[in-house]
């Protein structure tokens, strides 16, 4: 008993590791990302401390004197800087010439200071000029400090003795990296556009699921059930085509059908209608095609599941019902549908989740247009976090959107299990008690 349990654990270990790595880890990471303001501008790996004009503006309200004092660049050729230059052991004449010719000079910008350094007789290279000018930098403006300590140390050298609270404020205002925040969820909750995208998604999932992934799939399964075997398999094979065609080609064919010079326009042109792009013409048409092209893919899976489930119904039940004079409709209503309850639960549940998460067909066909009319939640999350025109990738906000999707998926699954009374499937049969 004990060994078989261990064996069981060992057998399941690869699957468990896979689930951990490829399912739980991404979800956990998404949750972690969603609690940050990570974006292109903050980077992923962490930040630095930089006193920029924007940081000075942030400091102005709380610490006006400090903000004013650090807001100007200032370069001074002083003894300390020259000594540091000597310690660098570049060409010795640099230090000598600076000491004899320029000691005490003050410059209001790095560029001006560097012009003097560049003009030294030994002609330092551009990178040497930078290293030398750094030594005479007597301000912190626009310098990038890799650590908080380095920034505070520089401020200390410039004569700013800050209290721990002030240090905290300065570090906070100058940090360029990401910080923990729950703002993403606030933004999602308050944005009218997010609400619109949410409604789009609900509409898209509900209609596609009802009409195609379950409804039409059921229709196909039942009708093919009543066909001869060879005709039925031809029909099923045809309906599998959308699923087995590579999605890019599949969408391209839809585009050929719908664009301005496409089949539909040519056909309608015969009746005097002007050519137009049916896919992107208006929101209604866009939805029509988005649902159709997704539904055609989705219907095939339900069709296969339902067909095999119908096959599993003992033939005798159909023969008996025919003896009793049942019509086709009565057979469907009283024999097939009751026995398809679990397959319908499975397909509904599975397809809801897959419709919620899938956006590649929409991305390839309408890109969420026209005017974001067909933008669904997962596509919006992708656009926010990974692809948009301005290149401003908001990883944090996108992750928060993805997390919302995970939560909705879990909630919906629970509701389905409740509605379809899943507990009756897994409860022990009474007879064995």
């Amino acid at each position: 008993m004990r060994t078989s349990r261990t064996l069981g654990l060992i057998m399941i270990a690869p699957a468990a590791i896979m689930i951990l790595l490829f399912f739980l880890m991404p979800v956990v990471l998404t949750a972690v990302f969603s609690l940050t303001n990570m974006s292109t501008a903050t980077g992923i790996s962490g930040g630095a401390y930089q006193v920029t004009q924007a940081a000075v503006n942030r400091l102005t309200t709380d610490m006006p004197e400090l903000a004013a004092a650090i807001s100007e660049p200032r370069f001074v050729i002083d003894g300390e800087g020259v000594a540091a230059l000597e310690a660098l052991q570049l060409k010795p004449h640099f230090a000598t010439e600076l000491r004899s010719e320029h000691l005490g000079e003050v410059f209001a910008s790095r560029r001006e200071a560097e012009r003097v350094i560049k003009a030294l007789k030994d002609r330092p290279s551009t990178r040497e000029v930078k290293r030398i000018s750094d030594l005479f930098n007597r301000s912190v403006l626009n310098t990038r400090f890799e650590t908080r300590e380095a920034l505070l140390e520089s401020l200390r050298k410039l004569g700013f003795d800050l209290t721990p609270e002030e240090q905290e404020a300065v570090a906070k205002a100058t940090y360029t990296g990401w910080v923990w925040t729950a703002d993403n969820f606030r933004i999602i909750g308050n944005s009218p556009d997010m609400a619109q995208v949410f409604l789009n998604t609900a509409f898209y999932v509900a209609v596609t699921l009802l009409l195609f992934n379950v409804g039409y799939a059921l229709f196909l399964a039942v009708t093919t059930h009543y066909m001869t075997a060879s005709t039925a398999s031809i029909f099923r094979a045809v309906w599998l085509l959308p699923r087995i065609t590579p999605v890019v080609i599949y969408i391209l064919m839809w585009k050929w059908l719908t664009w301005d010079n496409g089949f539909l326009s040519l056909f309608m042109g015969q009746f005097g209608y002007p050519a137009k792009n049916y896919l992107l013409d208006n929101a209604r048409d866009a939805w029509f095609f988005v649902i159709l092209l997704n539904g055609f893919i989705g219907a095939s899976m339900g069709m296969l599941v339902f067909s095999s489930a119908i096959k599993a119904i003992p033939e005798t039940q159909f023969h008996a019902s025919e003896m009793d004079g049942a019509s086709r409709w009565q057979q469907i209503r009283y024999i097939i549908l009751p026995q398809l309850r679990w397959p319908i639960l499975f397909v509904t549940c599975y397809q809801t989740l897959s419709l919620l998460a899938s956006f590649n067909e929409i991305l390839l066909s309408t890109r969420g247009g026209p005017g974001r009319a067909t933008e669904v939640w997962s596509l919006a999350a992708y656009h926010t976090a990974l692809q948009n025109y301005t290149g401003n990738l908001e990883y944090g906000l996108g992750a928060a959107m993805a997390l919302v999707l995970v939560v909705i998926g879990v909630i919906l699954s629970l509701i389905y299990l409740r509605v379809f009374r899943y507990d009756t499937l897994i409860s022990k049969p009474l007879i064995e008690d």
Partner: protein
């Protein structure tokens, strides 16, 4: 051992040593360069680096060093894919050495430490950098530091199809005077709408083709905000001028209501748009100087100047005529050793020399980056380059280099699209934009 033999072996040893020294100094470097938004006319964005590499190798050879530079070129035709690929590559420490991208990326990328300041590697007072127009150098700077070297300049005109304009009553003389009238604010966006309507009413163009704007998001749409008196940035702080934005949104809603612009114009296939504006299917449209290259080279519009007039973006209520320049800049990516980045910087410097940069400017119909470039024969003898430089460039604004600007842009565009397509009313679009700007940018934006 005689002295002679000692001398001989010493010479031999010295020669051997010298030869190994030469071998040791032979240096193989691979420099990768990516560019965004680069169509068939923009190949010199990456090719210029290759030309520069050959020159740098020769210079090294003269100094007695053997330098072999392999340039890996990756041009992207679009922007979305390019920025996605580049940002993620950089975060994964696999960034290219050089990238040619829109200047507005400098803000966020510099803040995230994805790029290094170009001024750390190139002497800005040295030629040819010292010759580059100072306003372009400003556009390549962020937080007082020069991060990039301008790769090109351009500006974005309004285009008028001359035959249609004549058919609604303009004479050739009127049309020749149009640029000046637009500049003075005597011909405004309101006139654009009226003339577009006239063209449609006369049946010169189909409904929705009177005014035929850009089909997707782009810096162009900030010009309309500017035309209606809006300001993008003031004193380092982003500005959202509600009234100006409302007028700009309203303008597009009005265009749609008047039937001169299609409601579903955004997102239409780009190739179709190009073909239509090149063949006079559209009356008035807007674009960039580089459209000239595409219209003439790819779309077969050989007699451009007979068919098309171009002007600044006309003024709207509360603003003045303007245009926008959106220079691409060469940036140096972080994550490489200093010596390689130095070579990359040297290549950028050489590629910015007037004659090399003019190859890109003329082939792609962009504008030059320095005064000297306008004197290169190829540039000076090009009618488009000289007229466009003179008529447009003095009035050009640029988008701000601000780490938060991308967020502002995304929100501005989203709501323009919504009010254009009728998904939201103009008032709702402006107030939604305001709500979202406050939520996402907080103090970083001034709302007026």
């Amino acid at each position: 051992m005689t002295i002679v033999s000692i001398l001989r072996s010493a010479t031999l040893a010295a020669a051997l040593l010298a030869s190994t020294a030469v071998i040791a100094s032979a240096k193989d470097v691979t420099i990768s360069v990516w560019s965004g938004g680069s169509g068939p006319n923009d190949n010199y964005r990456v090719d210029a680096i290759e030309i520069a590499a050959e020159l740098l190798e020769r210079e090294a050879a003269i100094r007695g060093e053997e330098l072999n530079i392999t340039v890996q070129k990756t041009p992207y035709s679009g922007w979305e894919e390019f920025k996605q690929a580049l940002t993620l590559a950089a975060e994964a420490k696999k960034a290219p050495n050089i990238v040619a991208t829109g200047h507005e990326d400098i803000g966020p990328w510099a803040q995230a430490g994805l790029i290094v300041p170009v001024e750390n590697y190139i002497d800005l007072d040295g030629w040819p950098i010292s010759d580059i127009y100072p306003n372009l150098m400003n556009v390549a700077s962020f937080n007082g530091t020069v991060y990039g070297i301008p790769q090109d300049a351009e500006s974005r005109p309004f285009f008028f199809w001359r035959p249609h304009m004549k058919a609604i009553g303009y004479t050739d003389a009127d049309l020749d005077a149009l640029p000046a009238k637009v500049e003075k604010g005597e011909y405004t966006l309101k006139n654009v709408l009226e003339d577009a309507k006239k063209m449609q009413d006369k049946g010169l163009v189909q409904p929705g083709y009177g005014f035929y704007p850009r089909t997707n998001n782009g810096p162009d749409y900030w010009q309309f905000y500017t035309s209606f008196g809006g300001l993008m940035e003031d004193d380092g702080e982003l500005v959202f001028d509600k009234a100006a934005m409302k007028r700009a949104y309203q303008y597009f809603a009005d265009l749609v209501a008047a039937g001169v612009t299609k409601k579903n114009h955004i997102g239409m296939p780009g190739d179709q748009w190009w073909k239509e504006v090149a063949t006079g299917k559209a009356g008035i449209w807007h674009g960039g100087t580089w459209h000239y290259a595409r219209l003439v080279n790819q779309e077969g519009l050989k007699d451009f100047f007979d068919n098309v007039q171009f002007t600044l973006i006309p003024a709207g209520e509360g603003g003045k005529a303007n245009t926008l320049t959106h220079p691409l800049t060469y940036l140096l990516m972080a994550g490489h050793d200093e010596a390689t980045t130095q070579i990359a910087a040297d290549l950028v410097k050489i590629a910015s020399e007037p004659r090399i940069n003019a190859l890109h400017a003329i082939k792609s119909a962009h504008l030059g980056i320095s005064q000297a470039e306008t004197k290169v024969d190829l540039y000076a003898s090009d009618r488009w380059a000289s007229e466009a430089t003179e008529r447009l460039l003095p009035h050009a604004n640029a988008m701000p280099n601000n780490a938060e600007f991308g967020k502002y842009w995304t929100i501005m565009w989203k709501n323009l699209e919504a009010s254009w397509t009728g998904a939201k009313t103009v008032d709702a679009a402006v107030s939604d934009a305001e709500t979202e700007l406050k939520a996402t940018l907080g103090d970083a934006i001034v709302i007026r």
